[in-house]
């Protein structure tokens, strides 16, 4: 018991204080909250004497900030002094964690140690979209997938007749789905907020930035807060070229604006070759907007395996997206009727650059990369280093260059994915408060899905990466391309392509890349096996499930 007490006292000082941001299309950032026991009569964090300051960092001025802090100082009873739990706020994830894990444990814990109390705080630093109701509706992967599902129905419409359904005069109403989607996301937000409240988490809303105090301190609306552990999880936001680079660039929108569209644009221009560009171009085009995708090189998704970048580029063209290769926007201007004219330069290697104008564009969307939300935080005051792009520099344990300050998620610029941020946050919590010294996220073999048409699933090394690491002679790939059974009776045929990248004599699977119907759901299980070190022989020894697309992966020859 003595030891336990000592441990407990040590942890008492471990009050966490987190910055976090809401999600946006690429990055789905997470509010992670940690809970930990605090000694009686000890406050978890203390608002310091305040001074009012009116300046807000210029670049962030249009954005809403949200700070959340959590605090619990009741007569809470803890099962064990080292008890720590964490919740996160991202759509269903949050519900799952809060409702099924966090809250029951919380109430369970209360039954044990009447004298203890706990405190925890999160600080959420929220960019255009908010996690909670007062903020704008989230713009992350959930609404994105809702729109993708909507578009999938457009594909089904083509197939109904082939499957015997007589449908005629099918019309699409953008408003219906927008209202539904917003209502759904609002509902989720409500639940997060109520769960956060249930978990007795204080929410502090406002801008947050570090001060020059000797102890790491965050100031919000003139009030100062400090904690032994501060997590930066402010995420990122879409980048837009400046008007000096591209005159009129600011007339365009970003992925965030996509979710604000009240009507399906008639004429869309999407700039970028990354997965956000691919997803949005696919959704808009499938739903019936005449869409052009402007890319700098000749293929989209250039960091993906070559099979995926070439196949996806081809599928975009097959589904009617007008892909402008080797093309960049030169200027944007507003025409008299309020629509945009987008002037582009196409410079096919070996040819003279040509200029063209895409007229009457009602949706110009920049998807040319993302920027970390780190500028306004005054990180220099606490010695938290950022890279030239502004990403917070962290080690593999999410430590920044300042002790007691950590960062997870998109603000670190690595693997911009919701579950990655969640997992990293969770691992950090276990390391800080559960004594698991080695708890860290393994950034290898993180499975990723792009909700293109058809969807892409990828995990591990691309063939190109595998060759670079292991040498050409040590890399063997298995490929297949087939028409999924679903399309056996449809006039519309969309193929499925798959590539397995193996290395060494034992043919260890180091990469899996595929695009086709169902690849979004196929990938997860294979990712488990690949992470476990599965070999080609293991795949061969697995009995197929017939008839599926997934079975092609265990019957590759």
């Amino acid at each position: 018991m003595a030891l336990e007490n000592a441990l407990w006292r040590r942890r008492v000082s471990d009050h966490p204080f987190f910055f976090s941001a809401a999600s946006s299309l690429t990055q789905h950032l997470v509010v992670e909250s940690l809970m930990l026991p605090v000694a009686p009569q000890t406050t978890s964090y203390k608002p310091l004497p305040t001074f009012v300051e009116g300046s807000t960092p210029g670049i962030l001025k249009e954005q809403q900030y949200l700070h959340v802090s959590v605090r619990n100082q009741g007569s809470s009873q803890l099962k064990s002094p080292s008890w720590t739990k964490m919740c996160h706020t991202e759509d269903e994830e949050h519900l799952a964690q809060l409702e099924t894990e966090f809250l029951p444990t919380l109430s369970l814990s209360h039954a044990h140690q009447p004298e203890s109390q706990f405190a925890c705080c999160i600080c959420s630093h929220c960019f255009p979209s908010g996690l909670f109701r007062e903020e704008k509706v989230n713009v992350g992967c959930v609404p994105k997938k809702v729109m993708w599902n909507t578009a999938v129905h457009a594909e089904f419409v083509h197939d109904h007749a082939d499957y015997g359904f007589e449908t005629s005069g099918v019309k699409f109403n953008w408003r219906t789905i927008k209202e539904k989607r917003d209502a759904y996301v609002r509902r989720l937000n409500d639940i997060y907020e109520s769960n956060v409240k249930k978990a007795r988490i204080d929410i502090i809303r406002g801008y947050g930035k570090f001060t020059a105090d000797p102890q790491p301190t965050v100031e919000v609306d003139g009030k100062k807060y400090t904690a032994p552990h501060i997590l930066i999880a402010t995420g990122g936001r879409p980048a837009v070229p400046s008007d000096s680079e591209v005159p009129g660039a600011s007339l365009g929108m970003t992925s965030d604006g996509f979710f604000d569209l009240e009507e399906l644009p008639r004429r869309s221009v999407i700039v970028g070759a990354g997965y956000i560009a691919v997803e949005i171009a696919g959704i808009l085009s499938t739903l019936g907007s005449k869409s052009s995708l402007l890319i700098r090189h000749d293929q989209v998704l250039r960091t993906f395996d070559s099979l995926i970048s070439s196949n996806c580029t081809q599928e975009l063209e097959n589904t009617g997206v007008d892909v402008w290769k080797h093309t960049q926007v030169k200027r944007v201007s507003k025409s008299s009727c309020g629509l945009l004219d987008v002037t582009v330069t196409s410079a096919v290697p070996g040819h003279k650059p040509t200029e063209g104008v895409i007229r009457d564009v009602d949706c110009l969307l920049w998807a040319v990369g993302r920027q970390p939300n780190s500028e306004g935080l005054c990180l220099d005051r606490v010695g938290v280093q950022v890279d030239p792009q502004g990403h917070v520099v962290v080690d593999e344990y999410q430590n920044t260059t300042r002790k007691g300050i950590y960062a997870v998620g998109d603000v670190c610029g690595k693997a911009l994915l919701t579950p990655v941020a969640i997992a990293a946050g969770r691992k950090l919590a276990h390391r800080l408060f559960e004594g698991k010294q080695d708890s860290r996220l393994d950034y290898e073999n993180i499975p990723t899905v792009v909700f293109s048409h058809p969807p892409i699933g990828t995990v591990g090394l691309t063939e190109e990466e595998a060759v670079a690491i292991h040498g050409k002679d040590n890399v063997k790939t298995y490929n297949t391309s087939f028409i999924p059974l679903y399309h056996a009776v449809t006039q519309r045929k969309v193929k499925c392509v798959m590539k397995l990248v193996c290395t060494g004599k034992e043919e260890k699977v180091v990469g899996l890349h595929m695009q086709g119907l169902g690849c979004d759901e196929i990938l997860q299980g294979f990712a488990v096996a690949i992470k476990m070190g599965a070999t080609k022989a293991d795949l061969d020894n697995t009995v197929a499930i017939h008839p599926t697309s997934a079975e092609e992966l265990v019957t590759l020859r």
Partner: protein, 499 residues
């Protein structure tokens, strides 16, 4: 391997072929093609005995003609039917009611099946496998003879013979009118006109799958089952599957068994059945009555006794050892006709290929029938691999297993306002040490696609912590498997979402 040696001994020009395969279904064709790859002289005999209703089909066996392929396509049609309803919630205005025309769907499905029949013929030709469209019967251990359609006797001799004649749906012959008026899955996919109001009798996966897609394309469909659904599968999952079907519109007559089928003047079929619970007799009329009361091998005409191939007297199936050898050294059997093997296409294919490799390519690799994944393509699909909870309890004791589970809501259900009550995942693990996974059960959309990769992981010996170490793919249904944290033992609510 003795059989192998014997086979080579006989190959002294006495027998015409190195390998004769009787039965051109999944297992037989896979074995024949594989053997041909090794440069062997191979023949395949295939003959489709017309169903009692007169339905017949081409080369490829049950899976291609009257099983997996047409079933999955009609399942896809039913899913599209549901998607039509969902579409309205996604902003698609589709004028109601939407009619479904059976003949259009069936034509599409049948055309695809015919293209596969043709594909198999072409492949056999390409691989120089001789094809006989005859019904074979043993006349001695190395000789099989049969009549062609033109009544011409054909005699084929081979060093090695593989029996892969599969099975056919059973008729409940004790039920008056069953044979006369009822159809089976052998007929359903080849119907030119809609079956209309249909009674499906049986609790097998065939029964539930057929009833599911018939309901999905808008037909009034009833399932009659005497006992538990999906016997042999995890029973909690089985109940969820039927529960979902009920909410989906399939009617269920539980604890009932038919006693007679009569044809009414209206051409409708009047079915009389007994309700075992109420001990009452009830009747109703249907356009179609389909039997899905099990499958049985058709071994009688093979004349197995003459050559000494032993069968199980109860099931009629051929008894084989781990190398698929029968009681006669150079005669083998694969697929549904073999005793104690799963009745699944992929296992038959894999077993057939491995057998050919052992016979002709100095391989000793045996088919591993453990951890065979499978999926039931009911409207809400059910995929599983490994042990059911019951089997795990029986084998290891309930104190020694940990069951992680979750009720989750697929994102595609939320906007569509679909009920996700039965979307459920269960992972059965050993409780001790590294918590090795014994079984995984998944009910939800795309279960077949979801479970395949996990089956690989489980085959590699995946443990619970390894599963949890994998980063989820958001937002998918499959990611829920990597997020299972609630144990049954804890008694905590396993619902993933509250809205």
């Amino acid at each position: 391997m003795l059989g192998n040696a014997t086979g080579f001994l006989h190959h002294s020009g006495k027998n015409e072929y190195d390998l004769l395969v009787i039965g051109g279904g999944s297992g037989g064709l896979a074995c024949a093609k594989e053997a041909a790859q090794f440069g062997r002289k191979v023949a395949v005999m295939d003959y489709v005995e017309p169903s009692p209703q007169g339905t017949t089909w081409g080369l490829g066996g049950t899976c291609v003609n009257v099983g997996c392929i047409p079933k999955k396509l009609m399942h896809q049609a039913a899913l599209l039917g549901s998607a039509l309803k969902d579409a309205q919630h996604y902003g698609w205005n589709i004028s109601q009611p939407v009619h479904h025309t059976w003949s259009v769907m069936a034509q599409g499905v049948q055309n695809h099946v015919k293209s596969l029949n043709w594909g198999h013929r072409v492949q056999l030709q390409e691989k120089k496998v001789k094809y006989f469209n005859i019904k074979g019967s043993f006349s001695d251990p190395h000789t099989v003879r049969g009549l062609t359609k033109a009544d011409k006797e054909t005699v084929v001799t081979a060093d090695n013979i593989v029996i892969a004649t599969g099975g056919r749906p059973k008729y409940p012959l004790q039920v008056a009118g069953a044979l006369e008026y009822g159809i089976t899955s052998d007929d359903l996919f080849w119907l030119k006109e809609s079956p209309g109001k249909t009674l499906v009798v049986g609790a097998s996966y065939v029964s539930l799958e057929c009833a599911g897609f018939l309901t999905g394309i808008g037909l009034d469909t009833t399932v009659m089952m005497r006992s538990v659904p999906l016997r042999g599968f995890d029973q909690q999952m089985a109940s969820l599957v039927t529960e979902h079907m009920e909410s989906y519109g399939t009617k269920f007559l539980k604890r009932c068994f038919p006693t007679k089928v009569e044809k009414l003047k209206s051409n409708r079929l009047q079915v009389t059945w007994k309700n075992a619970d109420l001990d009452t007799e009830e009747t109703d009329s249907f356009n179609t009555v389909m039997w899905a009361v099990g499958r049985a091998p058709d071994t009688k005409t093979l004349n197995l006794e003459t050559v000494g191939v032993k069968t199980n007297s109860e099931t009629g199936k051929i008894i084989v050892d781990a190398s698929e050898a029968t009681s006669v050294p150079h005669i083998y059997a694969v697929g549904d006709i073999t005793e104690g093997r799963p009745e699944l296409t992929p296992t038959a294919i894999a077993a057939g290929k491995l057998l050919a490799q052992r016979l002709f390519s100095q391989s000793s690799e045996l088919m591993d029938y453990d951890s065979v994944p499978t999926t039931v393509f009911t409207p809400l699909e059910y995929g599983c691999v490994g042990l059911s909870e019951e089997a795990a309890v029986q084998r290891h004791g309930s104190d020694n297993i940990e069951v992680y589970h979750a009720y989750y809501k697929p994102l595609e259900f939320t906007v569509a306002e679909r009920d996700a009550t039965q979307c459920y995942i269960k992972m059965v693990c050993l409780r001790e040490r590294e918590q090795r996974i014994l079984g995984l059960h998944f009910i939800g959309p795309n279960a077949g696609e979801v479970i395949q990769g996990f089956a690989l992981g489980i085959k590699c010996g995946a443990t619970y912590p390894q599963m949890m170490k994998t980063v989820g793919i958001h937002p998918t249904c499959a990611e829920e498997v990597t997020k299972l944290r609630i144990t049954k033992r804890s008694g905590l609510d396993a619902t993933v979402t509250g809205c």
